[in-house]
Every structure is written in C-alpha cells, then in structure tokens.
Amino acid sequence: MAIADVKEYTHLSVEEVEQLGRELDAIRADIEESRNADDAAYINRMIRIQRGLAAAGRVTLIAGTQSAKTRKPAAVLGGSLLGLAKILENMEIGHNVMHGQWDWMNDPEIHSSNWEWDTAQPAEQWKHSHNYVHHQFTNVLGHDNDIGYGILRMAREQKWHPYYLGQPVYNALLASLFQWGVALHDLDLERIRKGEKDPKEMKRQLRQIVRKGRNQILKDYVVYPALAGRQWKTTLVANASANFARNLWSYMIIFCGHFPDGALHFTEEELEDETRAEWYLRQMLGSANFEGGRTLHILSGSLGYQIEHHLFPDLPSNRYPEISVKVRALCDKYDIPYTIGPLYKQYGQTFRTIMKLSLPNKMTSTDDPAPPERRDTADEPARDHKRRSDAERQPRRRELGAYSRSPREREHD
C-alpha cells in the first residue's frame, strides 16, 4: 500500500502530519544541540570494552587450551568472549558508526568514512545496501532488499512460488550463515540475474568481497588457530562458534526490526516526492521495537529502538532511550501505532510469518492487526493524503532570495 493509503494514519489531517514532522524535527534538534563529552565517552567506552573482550577471548583460546585440564572451559569461555566482542563490534559500534552517529566528534578513527567492521561484508557496500537502500526505501516491496534478503517471502503482497516451500530451510541457512548472506547483499543477485547490474561495478564489488572475506577467513580460521599451536582445532571450532553465535544473534535482531505483526509494508513506487513528515511516518509504521534492559539493548546495537533508529539513524545510539519516551508520547498524541513487545514475542511473530508465507496466501490467514479504533475521530471520514503531483504544485520560485523558503519561513520577513 502507499503511505497515503495507510489506515493507521488516515485520521490525521495534512496539517497534523506536518505538525508531527515538526515535533520530530524538534526532538532531533534537541539531541543535536545537547551532544556532549558524555556521549563521546560512551562510544569510546564501548570500543574499549569490545577490544578487551576480543583480546581476552583470543588469549584465552590460545593460552587456556594448552593444558588438558583447562581446555574445555577455556574453549567455552574464549569462544563466548569472542562471540560477545563480535556482537558488540557489529551491532552497537560498527553499524552505528557507519551511520555517522559519531561523526560530530571528528575523531579520525570513529567516523563513518573510514570504519571497517569485523564481518565479511565490506563497509562501503553495507553503507549502500543498508544506509541507503534499506533506510531510504524502508519496507517498500521491490525496493527494500532487506525484505527477506532476496531469499525469503516476508509479505503477503509478494507473489508466491513453489520455491518458497523451502523457506524454513532457507531461513535456517540464512540465520546460520548470516555474515555471508550480508556479504552478498549489495551485489543484488536479482539485478545480476536480470542483467541490470553494471558489470564494472559488479566486478569491483566482487573483488572487495573476496578480499574482505579472505581476510576474515584468514584471521579466524588460519592465523589465530595457528597461534594456538597443537590446539589449533579447538581454537578454530571456538572461533567458528563465535561467528555462528554472532550470525544467529544479528539475524534475529535485524529480522525483529520490520517483520513482527504491526510493522507495515508499502508498495508505492513514487517515493521521491515523499515529504519529510511522510518519510518519518513510513519509518514509524514500518518498524518495530522490542523491550529489554540496557545490556540487551546495547548487544542489539540499540535496534530494540528500531523506530527511533529509523527516524534518526545518525543520532547517537545511547540517546535512543530518551528519544523513545518522546516518540512514544507523540504516537499517543497523534493516535498512531507504536509497535513494541518482548524480544521472544517479536521473533516468534517473525518466525511464524516466515513459516506461513512459505505457503500460498489461500492456505493461510493474515496476521496483520486490524487498523486501530480511533479514540475521537472514529466517525469522521478518512482524510485524503494523496500527494500533489509536480503539475499540481506551485512552481519553485527562481528569483533570488525566495526560491528555497517555505511560506512559513517567509511569514517572518
């Protein structure tokens, strides 16, 4: 459905939608103006903790496995520490740094331009497939490749094909090998198949993936096991387990962001004319949060605040908790859904959707919740949110001094 047709907000007038946008702008401005040394200390602390965990894990696996007495506990402990380090690095640090959340610090290392992360996908490709394709076209079928990663059928609007009968298996494979699935994500195999991919760009991307993937394999499956000497096999298995744990965790967290019941999909093709307020709305209606304590949120890369992350992907993640209070209050004020639930419930719904959509629509029922009952506008007709076309819109003024100012801004002249 197009954003203009979404029942969850058709009770709002155009002016109310714009007012909601202005209130979200104000939340953004508040955070931008109050970013300070405490925020910088937070990300530096996260990086210190992550590097400590990684070092402790590597050392435990190299040294602790040498004695038969400590081998098993060292393998379990070392693998766990390493898995935690990888989760923290990918989720709370790498993902958020690459969104530019910490660029304002002007730190030569902690900057979206040069951060490279501990996973198989090259950072440059992630910034395209995730920051641009996913965050710009969030939940728009045919545009957002995160809807099933090109492998799974995640919306009833997607045409069913017998291929999807294997969805439970594809899902298990995707979860287990998630970093490699993500590594191939920006290649966009569907576009390659259709001959729509620039061959020069495809070769360049493949070279990047091979180089990055080779380095990841060398690190976890050759160099560090070799450093453990005769216990190389134990270290290799522990490293593989750490990667496996990180894969499962990041898969689950990412899938919980947009596929629990209540997170909407959109089918509109014409997104380029979307206003800022409508873009905000699409992000809010297409995303889902989960509840949890501070540690869970940090290990989830603050994606338990998926709604806030999609509204403000470049604001520091440690500020999402306070932002979420304000966003939720706005959802209450404007009577629009704020999708949230415990993690097990959000993933349970996602998993059920994956299983159900492996079958044709006629064999399953929809789980989409009915549009909410309105408190005070239930008897009013839905408002027309159809956007004006360029032909209907007043042309941009070209004379000096007025071409980019809104009527509201000009009131202050």
């Binding site: 714009e18 304002w104 440059e124 760009e201 071409y403 100012r405």
Partner: protein, 136 residues
C-alpha cells in the same frame, strides 16, 4: 543502474560544454535526485562516487553557506576543488544552481545532516547542513 565510482579524470564529459559531469548530476546543470540521496546515505562523494573521507566538503553559493543548506551532496575536498576548477567561467547555471555562480564557496565539516523537503517547501530538493564546520 548504480555506476561504479570513478576517478575525476574518468568522469563522463558533457558533449556541449566539455566539462565533467559529476556522479550526483544528470547533466552539468541538474542534480540527479536519486543520486543525491544515495550520496547522502551511502556516504559517497557527489563528484567521484567513492566513499567519503575526512574532512567532508560541500560546495555551493554564498547564500547556501549563509543558510547552512547546500544542495550539492558531500564530496572529497580534492574532488570539490577539481570540479570547481573545471567549471570556472562556465557562464551558465551549473551543479544544481538556478543562476550563474561566479564565486563558489567550499566548506569542510566533520558531519552533516541530510534534510528532506517538507510539504510547504517550494524548493522540493533535499539539502545538506554541515554540523561541525572545520573550514570555510
């Protein structure tokens, strides 16, 4: 189709004007809206299409600098300088500007905000607001 990043020397040239057409433009005059958004979110240079570095540069007019709202997406500092040199004395509107620009400005920043247009904005193009200006 997403094009591969290229060097400044390899940018396609406009057959009429002979100037290089940057990654974010559909012609020497017009910005490509989709590419502008891609540059903003993928954090790639609006001139060459490769990953941005530090500092991030914005080129524009004195008015854009005064309003802290640039239309041309972020660039490498060297790419911006090379582009402005190539467009110097062109004598017609270019790089997303409505009017001929004689005195371009170049601002460097550590960070920027990508501002999508609102419903009331007569100019329906997104803008970029440098938030940690390093040099002007």
């Amino acid at each position: 189709m997403d094009a591969a990043p290229t060097t400044f020397a390899e940018l396609p040239r406009d057959p009429r004007l002979g100037v290089p057409v940057p990654f974010a433009c559909s012609s020497p005059r017009d910005l490509d809206k989709r590419r502008v958004t891609q540059c903003a979110l993928s954090r790639v240079c609006g001139v060459c299409g490769a990953s941005l570095g530090r500092p991030i540069a914005f080129l524009g007019t004195a008015r854009e600098e005064g309003r802290n709202a640039f239309h041309f997406p972020p660039t490498h500092e060297a790419c911006a300088s090379a582009l402005l040199a190539a467009y110097a004395g062109l004598g017609e509107p270019a790089l997303g500007q409505d009017d001929v620009v004689d005195d371009w400005v170049l601002v460097t920043t550590a960070a920027f905000e990508f501002v999508r247009p609102g419903r009331d904005d007569l100019d329906r193009r997104p803008t970029f607001q440098p938030t940690v200006v390093l040099s002007r």
